[in-house]
């Protein structure tokens, strides 16, 4: 004889995906004409971070880059996956300190170019411990 089997299924809620509720109530009359035009919200994170696994942040101290708009307290967005070509602005590690400068690589070595009319370019020689740590892609600035 075939026995009857009663099975209970319990919903697995381990993977709940929250979806923004787009529809407005229809009971109050005419539905909102904006419903058809629901778009994603703007994400600054998405805009500023192109490669999240290679992106790190730093905070800035000092005035050597002041003429190009880098101010003390700014947050630097650093992408380590980019190459230091075309005189990009890079975070470098020089003789025990992190510093940010425009990096110019020539046949006879590297130059760190400040953006401050009172400061001179710095030549990196073999005597220095020098690492190009990552490329600065954005700066985040507090205005008020």
């Amino acid at each position: 004889m075939k026995s009857e089997v009663l099975e209970f299924f319990i919903p697995d809620d381990s993977n709940i995906i929250e979806i923004p509720l787009a529809s407005s109530s229809i009971s109050a009359g005419f539905p909102s004409p904006a419903d058809d035009f629901q778009e994603d919200k703007i994400s600054l994170d998405k805009y500023v971070v192109k490669n999240k696994d290679a992106t790190f942040y730093a905070s800035l101290k000092g005035t050597s880059m002041i003429d190009t708009g880098f101010d003390e307290g700014d947050i630097l967005v650093i992408d380590r996956s980019l190459e230091p070509t075309d005189n990009k602005i890079a975070v470098c590690f020089v003789d025990g300190d992190f510093t940010v400068k425009r990096v110019k690589v020539t046949t006879d070595g590297a130059w760190l170019l400040p953006y401050n009319k009172d400061l001179k370019p710095i030549k990196i020689t073999e005597e220095n411990t020098f690492i190009i740590w990552g490329i600065v892609t954005y700066i985040v600035k507090k205005v008020i």
């Binding site: 999240k52 696994d53 905070s59 101290k61």
Partner: protein, 419 residues
């Protein structure tokens, strides 16, 4: 083909990424509570500092050799580990996270590709993007990939830290090179047993008859033999809920008082319950242990544990705390200075497979209550809402005197750059 990718001296390497001044210097990372050495840079290994070295015993050697000592920073290591796994997933969808610093990758349908080249590319990308050096072993089976990884790590200048066992000749050479005690899955007891019958390296192990291996070392041993012979039997394991969840701590001072111990055990069991709820599972039993400080030979020593079977599966802080406290009362002895206690929960089953007991069941209100506690703690900051058996003021103070900043997870801790 399988690949085993693992970060070289992972914790030490993570520290160095954000503090390159530590490059080429001896560096050790200590366990929770700054107890013992759990990671060493190559320079520290050369000084003869062993894995697990108690920090206080080696303090003099650290001082004499200018060894940089760091407390473990799991927020940082966890974040770097996630980044590493994400980068590896760009190369193949088939990946098993084996530990915080090790992943197995499987390459299906890559027969026409030069996997050694892909290995070098993976290594290069991880080093450039997140600054972590890795070693990569490639082979037909997971056990062989593990051995290939060891070769890559041992001979970085010959292999560029990527080694592939892709011919029969290389396989035999690698197995002959591998001591039996170093083979993945062979513990100290089994390796002693094997050495007693003249098996000293992995190759000799593969020369034993199948039937003998099965009877002596069970089907697990036979599987390992097959793997070492190049027949793949171990697959990538999918992520599954943890089999055991533990919360154990050394105290910042000795505790002799039962009520104070009860408070600790209650807190640890609540933490286990929280972890269970986070992964939607219940436990069926728990173990409580207490012990004195084994390094204080001048004091009387005592250590015991007890397993408590729960009447029904639970992930309620109240239930776990109740039964753990009962367990503690059963093993507690007056007159000892306790240094460490812990709660380990086991028999973990997914909540959706919950077995209803005919006679005793958990108060159904617990489920609602726990969900509310979790929600509130998430909102107002963790651990604000506690059981009455927990100390309302005491927050766990881990000894982390040499803790580096949370460079990647706290905006106030990011690296400071001079302009």
């Amino acid at each position: 083909m399988f690949a085993l990718v693992d970060g070289n001296n992972f914790y030490a390497s993570c520290e160095r990424v954000f503090n390159p001044a530590l490059n080429n210097k001896p560096l050790v990372v200590l366990s929770n509570n700054d107890g013992c050495v759990i990671a060493r840079s190559n320079e520290a290994k050369l000084l003869g500092i062993p894995m697990g070295a108690p920090a206080f015993e080696y303090q003099k050697l650290f001082d004499q050799n200018n060894v940089v000592v760091k407390s473990s920073n799991y927020a940082l290591y966890g974040d770097m580990s996630n980044r590493m796994v994400n980068i590896l997933r760009q190369f193949t969808p088939d990946l098993e996270v084996y530990s915080i610093d090790e992943s197995f990758l499987q390459f299906k349908g890559f027969e026409l590709f030069d996997l050694n080249k892909i290995g070098l590319e993976m290594r290069g990308r991880i080093l450039k993007w997140i600054g972590i050096p890795v070693s990569i072993g490639l082979a037909e089976t997971k056990a062989l990939a593990k051995i290939a990884n060891k070769i890559a790590k041992k001979f970085p200048e010959h292999t560029n830290s990527v080694y592939s066992i892709d011919t029969e000749e290389k396989r035999i050479k690698a197995l002959n090179w591998t001591e039996i005690s170093d083979v993945w899955g062979i513990g100290r007891r089994i390796s002693k047993k094997l050495q007693a019958i003249g098996v000293h390296n992995a190759y000799q192990f593969t020369q034993l008859p199948d039937e003998f291996v099965r009877t002596q070392f069970s089907v697990v041993g036979l599987r390992l033999k097959n793997e070492l012979e190049g027949k793949s039997v171990l697959q990538l394991e999918e992520i599954q809920p943890k089999k055991n969840i533990a919360t154990t701590r050394s105290f910042d001072k000795m505790i002799s008082d039962l009520s104070e111990l009860k408070e600790r055990v209650s807190t640890y069991s609540s933490m286990c319950a929280e972890k269970l709820r986070r992964q939607n599972s219940h436990c069926n039993h728990l173990m409580v242990f207490i012990h004195t400080n084994p390094f204080r030979e001048d004091l009387p020593q005592y250590s015991r544990n007890i397993i408590v079977k729960l009447p029904y599966p639970s992930n309620s802080s109240i239930t776990l705390s109740q039964y753990a406290t009962k367990g503690l009362e059963a093993i507690f002895k007056e007159g000892f200075a306790y240094k460490k206690a812990g709660v380990i929960v086991g028999g973990i089953t997914p909540s959706k497979d919950y077995q209803i007991n005919l006679f005793t069941n958990e108060n159904p209100n617990h489920k609602e209550l726990m969900a509310t506690i979790d929600r509130l703690n998430k909102k107002i900051g963790s651990k604000k809402l506690k059981l009455a058996s927990q100390d309302p003021v005491r927050t766990w103070k881990m000894r982390r005197e040499k803790l580096s900043p949370n460079y990647t997870t706290d905006i106030n801790d990011v690296i400071k750059v001079k302009a």
